[in-house]
């Protein structure tokens, strides 16, 4: 849930001090036991993670070595075929494109809602709105999926036709195939709704942490409320917004059931995002796992590993960006 990340205590003005080299023991028995226990469980966790990684890589390696197609460029998924052929190009494309659409829609809206709650809304209204938004994060994704398939898809058909008519020249919004809106664009819209609460809630907490002195100083210089936000809130919150967006992106990349319900999967790559078709890693695994034999599962594990690497890269990039702006790090991610 989204509300696990926020920092509830008032912000300590300076960034927390650099970490100590190691926890110092006072020499008492309890302390020694506790240090041992925590170190032990830390190591155990690493060992478990490492063995999972080894197991998954091993299974993935088996699958990839028997793949008669090119794992990176083949536009097909048929590990049960003769010869077995599968590739992740379509899945990688679909995952990235739908997530980008989701981010483009969700982040500005989320920042807007967060600013409204933290700086514009009357106090009495702010808390309930914040909770309603947070509540959205508690809705299970399959519920979003069913809602998307039954309500969103029929409604988006009108938007699709409109986009096609007025923005068809962009190539991206050109609709070349008939079909209801079971497309990557619809998936993007649905994902945007799903990640909205996370991004909003984290951004809101960050905006609330902007030092009052900064804002008051700006006000004292005669700034309007929007200027206060532009001059003190947004610069202070930038790294927080980035980390919030990355949290949201993480969810969008890995979303499974909602995508599987809304998308009409097919193994093609097309930039026409309004056409039905495409696929994502998680959706493909959910769709194929049930009927897959052992080799088919290995192949799906291999595709899952690629998703894992993708998520790692995204998170790594986010950390880099945040680290560069450490002086402002409101939400020490």
């Amino acid at each position: 849930m989204a509300s696990t990340t926020p920092i509830d205590t008032p912000p300590a003005p300076p960034a927390p001090p650099e970490r100590d080299e190691s926890p110092k023991s006072t020499g008492r028995m309890g302390d020694k036991v506790f240090v041992g226990l925590s170190r032990g469980s830390g190591i155990l966790l690493l060992v478990i993670m490492a063995s999972i990684a080894v197991f998954l890589s091993y299974r993935a390696a088996i699958a990839i070595s028997k793949d008669e197609g090119n794992f990176l460029t083949t536009f097909d998924w048929n590990p049960a075929g003769d010869p077995p052929v599968f590739g992740i190009a379509v899945l990688l494309f679909g995952t990235v494109v739908s997530s980008i659409i989701a981010m483009v829609i969700a982040v500005p809206i989320a920042v807007g809602i967060a600013l409204f709650i933290s700086h514009y809304a009357p106090r009495k209204l702010a808390a309930p709105i914040a909770y309603v938004v947070d509540l959205l994060a508690a809705v299970p994704s399959i519920v979003y999926g069913i809602w998307g398939a039954l309500v969103l898809v029929p409604y988006l058909e009108g938007l699709n036709l409109w986009l096609d008519q007025f923005f068809g020249w962009t190539y991206i919004f050109e609709k070349t195939e008939v079909g209801v809106a079971r497309s990557l664009f619809t998936v993007g819209v649905l994902l945007a709704i799903m990640i909205l609460p996370i991004v909003t809630s984290v951004s809101r907490e960050v905006f609330l942490q902007v030092p009052k002195m900064n804002e008051e100083a700006a006000l004292a210089l005669g700034a309007t409320r929007w200027e206060v936000i532009r001059l003190s809130v947004l610069p202070f919150g930038r790294s927080g917004i980035i980390s919030a967006s990355m949290l949201g992106l993480g969810r969008a990349l890995g979303e499974t059931m909602a995508v599987a319900t809304v998308l009409s999967p097919s193994f093609i790559i097309s930039l026409h995002v309004l056409n039905p078709g495409g696929g994502t890693f998680a959706q493909n695994i959910a769709a194929k796992f049930g009927e897959a034999d052992e080799f088919g599962r290995d192949a799906l594990i291999a595709s899952g590993l690629v998703l894992f690497v993708l998520t790692l890269l995204v998170n790594g990039a986010a950390r880099l960006i945040i680290a560069r702006r450490k002086e402002y790090s409101g939400a020490n991610a």
């Binding site: 049960a80 808390a127 309930p128 947070d134 519920v143 097919s266 769709a287 009927e291």
Partner: protein, 379 residues
């Protein structure tokens, strides 16, 4: 700060109320959707407990396999367990493939499967059957309905080549001359056809492929696989997903077991087989088509060779048959009596009769007689 906390508490309570309210509502809603094919309480009336011979059946019986026969199996198990106290039967409807794997590992007494055992699977079954091998007993037949949604058209006839071209997205409009020729006097709209198929691997897809390959070899050149082979069209997950899309989208066509069409009142296509009149998708018509099947299995194996090109009057050719896979000899001593007793009931007149109510088709009498004989001879 304090004021805010109070507000938060109140909001939390409100939120909690909203969530629990929603949960209660969804709990109510989900009941109706489960098992669309299970008839409501009719199954109880039609099956008199007297026809079930419990014999020496006792203890627990585990089985696993095809989800296509799940609704039939549920009915049989319910009636059987009501009649024979002390027997517990568990059918895990995973998939045909998983059922056969479990059977060959010896963890289940019998498996349900959409397709007959392959030679290598028979070979493997000899390990768990000790003295014998795995055989196929056809137990449940069923029509695969072609459901469509077209405003203003409530009767539609198609033949195999047209179906093949539609699902291959070669025919793109509902008023295509090929469709118009088969539907004299029906006003077909100038709408795009949206053909839906299953997004995951499925035995239903494979059976449709077998039918199209046999009845329209010129227009359907794909292998009959569980994975959807043609490049065009749209996909949805599960029979229920395809049915939901057909129900929702004007201009849609898709395939699923008849029970889904019945429970959601989706119109189904009549198939023109070249017989005297187009055949409607019903349990009876499916039985007529299965009657044209030949037994291709040797010995006690009763695997069927379906005749997809049958022209028999009223026979609906797009059918699937699901089997129970058992050992002919070498069944485990502790489950043998229960297996024989339960399968005898499933193959009995009563057991076959209740299939119709669930949207399935009974196995024709001639083949069914052989099934009963084989079940009696299991050892």
């Amino acid at each position: 700060m304090k004021l805010q906390r109070k507000n938060r508490l109140r909001a939390t309570a409100l939120g909690a109320l909203a969530v629990s309210g929603a949960l209660v509502l969804t709990a109510c809603g989900s009941d109706d959707n489960s098992d669309p094919g299970t008839p409501k309480a009719n199954g109880d009336k039609s099956s008199s407990a007297s026809s079930i011979d419990c014999g020496k059946a006792k203890g627990q019986l585990r089985a696993s396999g095809s989800s296509a026969q799940k609704n039939a199996m549920d009915l049989w198990v319910k009636n059987y367990m009501a009649a024979c106290s002390g027997v517990e039967i568990n059918y895990n409807s995973s998939s045909s493939g998983e059922g056969i794997v479990a059977f060959n590992q010896g963890t289940v007494a019998f498996a349900g499967s959409d397709s007959a055992l392959k030679p290598e699977e028979v070979e493997e079954s000899k390990k768990s059957c000790k003295t014998g091998q795995g055989i196929n007993l056809p137990m449940v037949g069923g029509p695969i309905a072609i459901g469509y949604h077209l405003e203003g058209v409530d009767k539609l006839t198609l033949d195999a080549p047209t179906l093949a071209k539609i699902f291959d997205t070669k025919i793109k409009k509902w008023n295509d001359p090929a469709i118009a020729k088969l539907n004299d006097g029906v006003k077909l709209p100038d709408k795009s056809i949206q053909a839906f198929h299953r997004s995951e691997d499925s035995g239903t897809t494979q059976n449709l492929g077998k039918y199209l390959g046999a009845a329209a070899p010129k227009d359907w050149k794909y292998e009959a696989e569980k994975k959807w082979p043609a490049p065009g069209g749209q996909a949805a997950s599960g029979s229920s997903g395809v049915a939901a899309q057909v129900k929702q989208v004007d201009g849609a066509i898709g395939y699923f077991e008849l029970s889904y069409a019945k429970s959601q009142s989706i119109s189904t296509v009549d198939i023109d087989t070249g017989g005297s009149a187009p055949a409607e998708a019903t349990s009876e018509n499916a039985s007529k088509a299965i009657a044209a099947a030949k037994i291709k299995g040797t010995g006690k194996d009763l695997a069927l060779d379906l005749d997809y090109t049958t022209k028999a009057d009223g026979a609906y050719p797009l059918v699937l048959v699901t089997y129970e896979v058992v050992c002919d000899t070498g069944n485990k001593a502790e489950t043998l009596d229960t297996v024989k007793s339960f399968l005898s009931y499933a193959a009995s007149d009563d057991g076959q009769k209740i299939l119709t109510e669930a949207g399935y088709a009974p196995i024709p009498a001639e083949i069914n007689a052989k099934v009963r004989e084989t079940v009696n001879g299991l050892s």
